[in-house]
């Protein structure tokens, strides 16, 4: 059954559940009632905000499925979303946040968090309590596990390459270390790069250049800064 109120394209599309947990805005949008909630096709400056899951998704176009969570009177949870065109997902956690940007992304709720598959100029940025970007990782495609209960919003991620990861160095806001490689894996506080990995100091960094390395594992401190790394090369 099609919702009459949403079948007609609107100049400003707006949706909010009864409690205001989930809100959706777009320039244009249409939707349909499904067996579990709503199916929306949203276009133009789409913004989906979930207070419960502490994320904001923005994109040029989003096809979204929203469902009712337990105890809710109306659909209040984004179950799945396929976003394209300047996609940004900001996941907040404990005052810190992570931002994922890509040309296209598919968001799928899993448990208390979500999995995002992204492609096209993928960028993952860690932001601390002071709005300082402590890590910026870029790649051509990747996945990310969003988790509002994790220290930085994204608890795990992979980026396929070539990848570039720039991390603020502990103890110096102007010091950064830039890593490049074929693939990046983020797991908790460890960032691993593989495939012809290079590292170089930037800004006021005292670190020089590391090159021709098979793998590097960077350990982030509690502030999300680079504290140390280990490397391995050769020997199979």
């Amino acid at each position: 059954m099609i919702l009459p109120a949403l079948i007609v394209a609107q100049s400003v599309f707006s949706y909010s559940d009864a409690k205001g947990d989930l809100s959706i805005r777009a320039k244009d949008g249409q939707g349909a009632l499904s067996t579990t909630g709503y199916e929306f096709d949203l276009m133009g400056s789409v913004t989906i905000t979930s207070k419960q899951r502490q994320f904001v998704l923005t994109a040029s176009r989003v096809k979204a499925s929203i469902v009712k969570s337990a105890g809710s009177e109306s659909p209040n949870e984004l179950k799945k979303a396929t976003a394209s065109g300047g996609t940004r997902i900001v996941q907040t956690a404990s005052g810190k946040s992570s931002r994922l940007q890509a040309n296209t992304a598919t968001y799928t709720t899993q448990g208390s968090g979500a999995t995002v598959r992204a492609s096209g100029s993928v960028r993952i940025v860690n932001i601390d309590q002071n709005k300082r970007e402590t890590m910026t990782a870029t790649g051509s495609s990747g996945t990310a596990r969003l988790d509002p209960k994790s220290p930085r919003g994204i608890s795990a991620a992979t980026l396929n390459g070539p990848v570039r990861v720039e991390i603020v160095q502990s103890g110096g806001t102007a010091s950064r270390v830039v890593f490049t490689g074929s693939k990046m894996t983020l797991s908790g506080s460890q960032v691993s790069l593989t495939g012809n990995v290079k590292a170089s100091g930037a800004g006021a960094s005292r670190f020089g250049n590391l090159s021709n390395v098979d793998s590097v594992t960077v350990t982030l401190n509690e502030r999300g800064e680079f504290s140390r790394f280990t490397f391995r090369s050769g020997g199979g």
């Binding site: 005292r206 020089g208 021709n212 490397f231 050769g234």
Partner: protein
């Protein structure tokens, strides 16, 4: 086929840079296997194998090569340059000290920083120290080379002193040694002091040519002793102790000496200028050298 593949791989890895410090003075290269990382203080720690693996400190004119080594490179700070903090070598290694390399790096650094360019050294000194195993520990202005096993030293020096040009070679062998280096010294021999336990053999050959002449004056000093103490920082002496025998020639004279202690005093250009023999008894001979340079 396997040998060929190994050779090709070795060639590919030759010169492959693992790490370079921000000033490009410290370079770690030539490895086939390596692992390590950064320490909390920003130092760079590594263990590597190579054919050979090399750690080079250009500002110090020092290069250490070995098939297997592990060490720590201190990161440069705004007030101090990067330097080799520790290095342990096993399976045969070589230390090379070259003041021309150090001088060129110091000139490059001065130009980069806009500071005065240091005066060029009057001589080029190249020393190599070889041993199966040794360890180096250093700071920004000094280093200690500890050699617990038999080793050899070869040193070549060429340059000008006053109105003379000279060439000097020195070879020495010993059983163990602890040598204090000042690798950052501009235009100076980096060996500051040291003790060598023996038996120690020492040989110094020198050729000096007066300006305006072509005939060089040759000299040679051979020595054996139970141990040797070197002090080139203040007294400029090489002290041979225990069952000492020295022989040699200089110009028209040749001689031998035996005693408990022989102190060889060197001038600024590391030329032996005085030999003092003490002991009970001492025995010395001095005679005119036969034409043709026989001893």
């Amino acid at each position: 086929m396997r040998v060929l593949a190994a050779l090709i791989l070795a060639t590919l890895f030759q010169g492959r840079t693992l790490y370079e410090d921000p000033t490009r003075s410290i370079r770690v290269y030539g490895y086939t296997q390596a692992e390590g990382g950064t320490l909390e203080n920003g130092d760079f720690e590594f263990t590597m194998r190579g054919n050979p693996a090399v750690v080079e400190s250009r500002l110090e004119g020092m290069s250490i090569s070995s098939p297997a080594m592990s060490g720590v490179v201190a990161a440069a700070t705004p007030s101090t340059r990067g330097f080799i903090r520790t290095l342990e070598v096993q399976g045969g290694g070589m230390v090379t000290l070259d003041n021309a390399t150090a001088y060129q790096a110091q000139v490059d650094q001065a130009r980069r920083l806009g500071t005065p360019v240091p005066a060029a050294p009057t001589a080029n000194d190249v020393s190599t120290i070889k041993s199966e195993r040794f360890a180096y520990s250093g700071g920004a202005a000094q280093g200690t080379l500890s050699i617990p096993q038999p080793f050899s030293v070869e040193s070549k020096s060429a340059g000008k002193t006053g109105d003379k040009t000279f060439e000097q070679t020195m070879t020495a062998q010993g059983s163990q040694a602890v040598l204090q280096l000042d690798p950052a010294a501009v235009g100076a021999v980096p060996l500051r002091s040291g003790t060598i336990t023996g038996p120690v053999t020492l040989k110094i050959n020198r050729s000096e040519t007066q300006s305006g002449t072509t005939q060089p004056t040759l000299s040679e000093l051979n020595g054996v002793a139970d141990n040797v103490e070197i002090d080139l920082s203040s007294a400029r002496t090489i002290t041979l102790r225990g069952n000492v025998k020295v022989s040699g020639f200089s110009g028209l004279y040749q001689g031998t000496s035996e005693g408990d202690v022989v102190v060889v005093t060197l001038d600024d250009a590391m030329k032996p200028i005085r030999i003092r023999v003490t002991g009970e008894p001492t025995k010395s001979t001095l005679r005119e050298r036969k034409p043709g340079g026989s001893k």
